[in-house]
C-alpha cells in the first residue's frame, strides 16, 4: 500500500510536470513557426507581384536595340565626317 502511494506521488509530482513541460515546448516551437511561415508567404506573394513588371523588359529590350542602332547610325556618320586621329 505504501508503495502504491509512493507511485501515485511520483506520477503526480514528477511524470505529469515532465509531460506537460515537454508538450508545451513542442507546442511553443510549432506556434513560433507560424508567424515565420506567414511572413515567408507574404514575402513570396509580394515578390511574385513585383515581377509582374517583367514583361516590360521585353519593351526595354526593344528600346535598347533601337537605341544602339541609332547610336550606330550616329557613330557611322561621325566616322565619315570627322577625321581620324593621327597615328602615333
Amino acid at each position: 500500500m505504501t508503495l502504491w502511494w509512493i507511485g501515485n506521488v511520483l506520477l503526480l509530482v514528477v511524470v505529469l510536470p515532465v509531460v506537460v513541460y515537454l508538450l508545451k515546448g513542442v507546442l511553443d516551437a510549432a506556434r513560433s513557426i507560424v508567424p515565420s511561415t506567414r511572413r515567408i508567404a507574404a514575402a513570396a506573394s509580394a515578390g511574385s507581384k513585383d515581377l509582374d513588371a517583367v514583361p516590360l523588359l521585353l519593351a526595354t529590350q526593344a528600346h535598347v536595340k533601337q537605341t544602339v542602332e541609332v547610336v550606330a547610325d550616329y557613330g557611322g556618320s561621325l566616322d565619315v565626317i570627322v577625321d581620324d586621329a593621327e597615328e602615333e
Binding site: 501515485n8 507546442l27 513570396a44 529590350q61 577625321d83 586621329a85
Partner: protein, 297 residues
Amino acid sequence: MPAAGVVLIVAVVLIVLALVYFLVSTIVALRQITSDLDDAIAGVGGIIEKSAPVADVVKDINANLDAGVALLEGLLVKKAGLVDSMGLVEGLYPGAAAEGLRNFPDSRTIKAPRISEVYTKGTLTLARLGREAPIAVASPAGPVLRNVEGGSLDARSLYPEERQSRPKRFPRSPVIGTGAPVQYPPSEQRGGTTPDEAEIRDKGPWAETSAEGIVPAELGGSDAPREMLAEDRELGSSVLGETTASDEPATGNGIDPDAGDEADAISDGGPEPPEGAEPDLKDAAAPPRQVDLDDRS
C-alpha cells in the same frame, strides 16, 4: 476502492488530458504552418515562372549595350587617339580615366592629358571639326590634338583634285577699260572672243567675218578714221550730247582749279570741314582684307 487507486486514476486522467491539449494545439499549429507554406510555395512558384525569361532578356540587353559601348569607345579612340580619349573622359568624368576603357586595356596605364582644363567643349569641337578654329593653329608645345594640316588635307580630298589638294595660281581676271594692258580695236571685239587662225580653220571661212568685226574699219566701223564716220558719230551730236564749252563749275563748290590737270573730285572738292573737326577714323583700325593683300602681292 482504496484511496490510492482513486489517486492513481486521477493522475492518469490528468496526464491524458495534458497530452490531448498539447497535442491538439500542436496539430493546429502545424496545420497553420502547412497552410502558410502552401501560400509561400505558390508565391515562389510565381516568382520562378515570371523570372524565367529575365535571364535571356537581360543577356540580350547587355549584349546590345556592350555593342554600343564598344562602338562608342572604338569611335572615340579612332577619332581622338587613345591618349586624348582618356583626356576627354577624364575631363567629363573626373577619375573615370583610371578605370580605363573596357575594350582598351592599355588605357588604364595612360596618364590622361588635361584637355578639358585648357579647352572648352565648344573650342574642342571646333578644333575637331573645323580648320578655322584658332586652337587649330599649331602651338609652341607642338600639335594640340593632332596634325591640323593633315586633317585639313583629308577634308580637301573631298573636293575636286585640281582646285583643292594642289591648288594652282590661276590667271587673274582680265583688266578692261582704258587701263587694260592690251587694247582691242572695237571692230575686233564685239562680244565673245576673237577667233584665231586655229578657230577659223576649225569653224570654217564664215568665222573670218567675225575676226574682221561686224563693220570693218575700212567700211566705216566705229574705229574708222573720223573723216569716214557720219555726223552722228561726232561728240557734239544732239543724240550723244555736247560739251558745255564753259569753265564754270557744274556743282556748287566745283573742283579746285588749283590742282590743274591732277584735280580730283574727292581730294580737291567737297565742303570745307569746320575748324577743329576730328576726322572719322572708325574704320581706320580695321586691317586690310586678306584678299586685298593677296592681290597686292
